[in-house]
Amino acid sequence: MTDEVAVTVDTTLHSRRAIFEACYKLTGQNFVTLTRDPGNPNLVVIGFRARKDALDPSIAGIFANELIDQEIRGALDREMAPIRELIVAQAFAEGNLLDSLREDGDYSEDPLGIGQLR
């Protein structure tokens, strides 16, 4: 039975954060090591060794899928971050960050143009 598995990851395809997040998630069952491939600086070799009992024979596949999930999570984080920050800010703001006219506008100036709809 294999007691150690190594997986090579291309760092031009995967971000550093995704690689570390995927490795971190698997540190519960395994000891995980990361080393650069001496022959190619774009490659990193991830080594897995079981903490106890035997190494999961699917560990390479589990890691590969986790890496892709972490890439998706990273992409979603980047895309959603501005809206996420705005939601939290709006939730705790004294005024209205989305539409200041709702709090500060002068109704007699009809800033929303409601009168024009008649």
Binding site: Y24, K25, R73, L76, I83, I87, A91, L98
Partner: protein, 497 residues
């Protein structure tokens, strides 16, 4: 032949915007999505990839559901953001009142000698383990500095009824102060019920004081878990439970249990005992790694996976009783289901971000030390004073509640910044419990892949989601009734045997 260009894929026109959510892989190529306010949706993998790739068609079956649950928005995003902000504020409403739960540890003395005791009780006798009137007065002063309009005062021990005179004087002093304070105040005594007498009952009734007791299961299990001279703990609970219900009202006394190694094989028997004694709720708690539970080794005798097996079996039995017309709910599931199925905060300090230690609940120990939580004072009884916030005699309110100890404790319980939690789909339902991780892993942030707290909550949450989507209408209605407080669904069968 044209070659694929991985570096620069064509950017699809953004017909919709994604709103913040996290995801978790599920079984059978499914994905669970949970947004920042706790709404959830299951998608098959192709739909998920289409969604995150911005190519989900408006005509596809899941589109409108995802839009209505605020996972995406098309057109002007202002309304969706405003709705999410309102929901987020509601979700975090536990922050607005600051510390609402104040625990008074009035004595460490106890007539029981439970090997799993987390508070390192001392044998009955010796007033040096009791809170002095001066300490109680200072604790009351500090409590009334809290801005919370509702204050819950919980008396703990040891066995607090051994110093009923002190309970009485604290209650009277608080009620007197409250004539000018005008807070909404509730009193609870956490007691094993053994010392309860008629005079106490008359006072409890007069002052509308609630009781919370411990019941670990049928007599042989309970008495083995909770030894006392005479080996009659269960008999005393049963006898005094009946007296207390008669004097105070059936719903004025609740119970919780602690799961020991012995309990693991008896999930059905434990639930059945709660039903037999007429309880409509049970709190299935795993053992906590503090106090005698560590010294006697009780905390290390089973793994989280064993507890989860026990929990699932007990929950099955609870559902079975409900199905046959006897309403009983499990409290931990109820808290989680409230988070999953309603927009409201639960005020359960262990399952919130930031955590409630110090800012939701605080402990005044018998000698005057102030701790961020019950677990923090349990740790102190083991010689670790990391989470001592100060002392009622030596420190001001500002030093205790605005000091560095509480600030760093709160900071280390913000899930959005914790490794392993920040990208977890269960984040809106969970907590960080820095004191548990300090105790078990040596630092308050902790290592989630090996955390028993994380494994327990992930296991229970996954199970609840599985049950919710099992297609069993009865279970969905039952869980909804637990979450919302609306009446339980009709029974289906006769009582189980």
């Amino acid at each position: 032949m044209a070659s694929a260009n991985f570096a620069e894929p064509p950017a699809p026109a953004p017909a919709y915007r994604l709103l913040p959510f996290r995801f978790e892989r599920w079984k059978k190529r499914e994905v669970l999505l949970v947004n920042d306010v706790g709404d959830s949706a299951f998608l098959d993998a192709p739909t998920f990839y289409a969604l995150v790739g911005h190519c989900l068609s408006v005509a596809s079956p899941g589109y409108l559901e995802l839009k209505s649950k605020l996972f995406l928005t098309d057109g002007d995003p202002t309304v969706a953001i405003d709705l999410l902000a309102t929901r987020y504020r509601t979700n975090k409403s536990f922050l607005s009142g600051f510390t609402g739960l104040h625990l008074f540890v009035i004595t460490l003395r106890c007539d029981h000698s439970c090997p799993y005791c987390q508070v390192s009780r001392v044998k009955d006798g010796g007033s040096r383990w009791d809170m002095s009137p001066e300490t109680a007065e200072r604790a009351i002063d500090l409590m009334f500095r809290s801005p919370s309009p509702t204050l819950k005062v919980e008396f703990q021990g040891g066995e607090p009824l051994l110093r009923f005179d002190l309970i009485r004087s604290i209650v009277e002093r608080i009620l007197e102060r409250n004539r000018t304070e005008g807070r909404q105040i509730e009193f609870v005594i956490a007691t094993n019920l053994a010392p309860l007498d008629d005079e106490m009952l008359a006072y409890l009734k007069d002052r509308s004081i609630l009781l919370s007791t411990s019941l670990d299961g049928p007599a042989p299990l309970h008495d083995a878990n909770r030894p006392r001279p005479g080996r009659d703990s269960h008999a005393l609970v049963e006898k005094n439970l009946a007296r207390a219900r008669e004097a105070l009202g059936h719903d004025r006394i609740s119970a919780l249990m602690t799961t020991t190694e012995r309990s693991l094989a008896q999930p059905r028997e434990i639930v059945d005992e709660y039903v037999r004694l007429g309880f409509d709720s049970i709190f299935l708690r795993s053992i906590s790694p503090y106090g005698f539970a560590v010294r006697t080794g009780a905390a290390a005798r089973y793994q989280t996976s064993h507890f989860l097996d026990f929990y699932r079996a007990a929950l099955d039995r609870i559902i079975e009783w409900n199905r046959r017309g006897t309403p009983i709910r499990e409290v931990y599931s109820q808290i989680l289901l409230s988070k999953i199925l309603t927009p409201f905060a639960t005020h359960y300090v262990d399952l919130q971000s930031p955590g409630g230690a110090g800012i939701g609940a605080v402990v005044y120990n018998y000698e005057g030390d102030v701790y961020a939580s019950d677990e923090a004072r349990m740790l102190a009884e083991m010689g670790d004073f990391t989470f001592r916030l100060g002392n009622v005699h030596r420190n001001t309110y500002e030093e205790i509640f605005g000091g560095e100890t509480l600030r760093s404790l709160v900071a280390s319980s913000v899930l959005e910044g914790l490794p392993g939690c920040n990208r977890c789909a269960f984040l809106p339902f969970c907590g960080g419990d820095p004191i548990f991780h300090h105790r078990t892993q040596g630092d308050p942030i902790g290592h989630r892949p090996t955390s028993a707290f994380c494994a327990k909550n992930m296991g229970i949450l996954r199970h609840l989601f599985e049950r919710l989507r099992s297609g069993d209408r009865f279970v969905v209605d039952l869980f909804t009734s637990w979450a919302t407080g609306v009446p339980a669904p009709r029974c289906e069968e006769e009582a189980p045997v």
